[in-house]
C-alpha cells in the first residue's frame, strides 16, 4: 500500500525550508532562489523592464492616448542631423564634464595634500569641508543662485570690496558665464568628497618611500609629480571615472539654477531630455527616449575608452 502523499501545504513548507547540506558553500536551488527573488523581482520590474521599454520607445512616436507608431531610426536621424539644441547640449555637457572632472580630482588632491602637511586643526577642517557633499542639489542650487545675485549676491559684493567693480556681473544671466558659474557650484559641492578619498589614499602610502625621497633631498613638487601621483594612480583613475559618469548625467543642479537657460547656454543632455518629455506639451516620449539611448551609448563608449587609456599606462614600474 502506497504511503499517502503529504498535504500540499506541508510540501511547500518543506520545499521552502530545504534540508541542510554539509558543505556550507552549497545550498539547494530553492534557497538560493528565495534569497535572490526579492532583489531580482524589483530589479526586473523597475530597472530592466524600464530600460527595455525606453529602447522600445526610442524607435516609436508616442501620440496622445498612448498611440504608438513605429518610426524605425527616424528619431535618431532627426536628432543627429537636425536638432541643433541637442548638439548645443552635447557641447555644454562635454565642457562641463571635462573641466569639472579635472578640476574635481586635482582640487581634491590639492586639498588633501594641504591637510596631509600636518597643519593644526586638520581633523576639524576635514569635517567642515565635507558638509557640502551632504546637502542636496536643491539646497546648494538655491544658495548659489543667491550668492550669484547681481544686486545682493556675495560674489559681486566681494568684487566690490576688492575694488573690482568692473568685473561685477550677472553671473547666471549672461550666456557667456552661466555654464562656468554652474561648474564652480558643482565643484564646490564635490571637492570635499574627492579630498576625503585622496587623503585616505595618502595616509595609506608607505612611509619608507616618502622618507627615502626626503633623504634624497627631493623637492616637494618633484615628490608630488614623481612619487605621490604615480602611487595614487589607481585612486585618481577611480575618482576620474566616477566624477566623469556623474557629470555626464548632470541634471538637478542645472535644472534648479538655470533650467538650461539663458539661450540654451547651460542646457545639458539630461535637462533637454526632461524638457522634451515633460515641458514641450507634445507628450511624445519617443524622441526624448532616443536622446537618452544615444547618450547612454556615448557614456559607455567614453568610459570604456577612458578606463582603457588610463589603465594601460597603469603598470608603472616603481
Amino acid at each position: 500500500m502506497a504511503e499517502p502523499a503529504a498535504p500540499p501545504r506541508t510540501r511547500i513548507v518543506a520545499w521552502l525550508m530545504g534540508d541542510s547540506v554539509a558543505d556550507s558553500r552549497q545550498a539547494p536551488a530553492r534557497t538560493i532562489l528565495l534569497f535572490l527573488a526579492p532583489a531580482l523581482l524589483v530589479y526586473a520590474g523597475f530597472t530592466i523592464y524600464p530600460v527595455l521599454r525606453t529602447f522600445y520607445n526610442s524607435v516609436h512616436t508616442i501620440g496622445p492616448h498612448n498611440v504608438q507608431t513605429f518610426v524605425g531610426l527616424d528619431n535618431f536621424v532627426a536628432l543627429v542631423t537636425q536638432d541643433r539644441v541637442f548638439w548645443k547640449a552635447v557641447a555644454n555637457t562635454t565642457i562641463f564634464t571635462v573641466v569639472g572632472t579635472v578640476a574635481d580630482v586635482l582640487g581634491g588632491l590639492l586639498l588633501a595634500l594641504c591637510l596631509f602637511a600636518k597643519v593644526p586643526l586638520a581633523r576639524a577642517m576635514r569635517v567642515i569641508w565635507f558638509t557640502p557633499v551632504l546637502m542636496s542639489y536643491v539646497i546648494v542650487g538655491i544658495i548659489w543662485v543667491w550668492l550669484y545675485d547681481y544686486d545682493w549676491g556675495l560674489v559681486n559684493l566681494v568684487l566690490g570690496w576688492l575694488g573690482l567693480e568692473s568685473l561685477q556681473h550677472s553671473w547666471l544671466g549672461d550666456p557667456a558665464t552661466a555654464l562656468w558659474a554652474v561648474v564652480v557650484t558643482h565643484l564646490w559641492k564635490w571637492l570635499g568628497f574627492n579630498m576625503i578619498i585622496c587623503l585616505a589614499a595618502l595616509h595609506a602610502l608607505p612611509e619608507e618611500v616618502l622618507g627615502a625621497a626626503e633623504l634624497d633631498n627631493c623637492g616637494w613638487f618633484a615628490k608630488l609629480v614623481y612619487i605621490i601621483i604615480p602611487m595614487l594612480r589607481p585612486t585618481l583613475v577611480n575618482l576620474l571615472v566616477l566624477s566623469f559618469i556623474g557629470k555626464m548625467m548632470m541634471f538637478d543642479l542645472v535644472w534648479i539654477m538655470t533650467a538650461g537657460g539663458p539661450l540654451w547656454s547651460t542646457e545639458t543632455v539630461s535637462t533637454y531630455v526632461y524638457k522634451r518629455a515633460f515641458n514641450w506639451n507634445t507628450f511624445d516620449l519617443g524622441y526624448p527616449s532616443a536622446i537618452a539611448v544615444l547618450w547612454f551609448f556615448m557614456i559607455l563608449l567614453f568610459v570604456t575608452l577612458m578606463t582603457r587609456l588610463l589603465r594601460q599606462r597603469d603598470r608603472v614600474e616603481f
Binding site: F35, Y43, S136
Partner: protein
Amino acid sequence: MRLWLNHLRRTPLLLFLVLYTIVSGGPFLWVMSMSLRTTPEIFDDPYALPVRLHWEKFANAWTNSNYGTYFWNSLIVVVTAVALVTLIGAMAAHCLARYRFRGSRLVRFVILSGMILPPQLLILSLFQILLDYGLYNSLAGLIIVYVATQLAMTVYILEGFFAQLPQDLFDAARMDGYADFEIFWRITLPIGLPAIFTTVTLNFILLWNEYLYAVVLLTDDEKRTLPLGIMHFMGGHQLDVGMIATGLMIAIAPVILLYALFSETMIKGMTAGAVR
C-alpha cells in the same frame, strides 16, 4: 626661532586653509542665520547676524507653508525605502557572497550593471510604467523606484564586506544545524552591521536629497517630498528669501544633526562606493 620661521613660511598655506574653510562652511551658516531673520531684515543687510531670533518662522513654515507635510512625506519614503533596500540587498549580497551556484556570475553582473545606468534611461518609461501599475503619483510608487535605484550600490558594498567574513564561521553554524535563513539572520546580519550602517547612511542621504525621480513621479502637493516642496515654495515666493531659508533649514537640519553626532561614520558611508 626655527619653529617660528617654519610657521612664517607656511603662512600662505594656513591662510588658504582658513579661506577654504570659510568658503565651504560659510554658506551653511549664512542660511542658518537667514532662517531666523525676516525678509525685510535680510534685504536691509543680507549678511548681518540675526538681531532677534525669529523662531516663529519655523512654526509658520511647518503649518502654513505645508513644510510639515513635506517633511513627513520625505521621512516615510526614505525610511521605508532604506529599510527595504537594506533587507533585500543584504539577502542578495549574502547569497552571492556565500554560495557557489550556477549563474551566480550572471546574476552579479546583471545587478551590478545597474550602477552605470543613467537615470534618464529609466525615468521616461518609469513614468509610463507607474501609470500602468496605478502607482503614479503615490508614495508607494516612489518607494519602489528608490529601492530599485539604490539596489545595485547596496549589493555591491555589502557583498564586498560579506565575502570577507571567514568561511569557518559558516561551516560551524552549518554543523550546529542552522538552516540557511538562520545563518543569514543570526550570523551575516549581526556581523555585517558595520557595512550595513555604511549603506544605510549612504542611501539615507542620497534619497533624502533626491529630486529627479520625485519631480517626475509625484504631482499632488500633499505628496511632495522636501526637495519638491522647497522648489514649489520657491516658485510661488521667489522674493521671500527669509521663508525660503527657513525651508532650507528644515530640510538640512536632520542631516546636519546626524552629521554632528556621527561625522566619521557618515564620511565613511558617503565615500564607500568610491574606495576599492
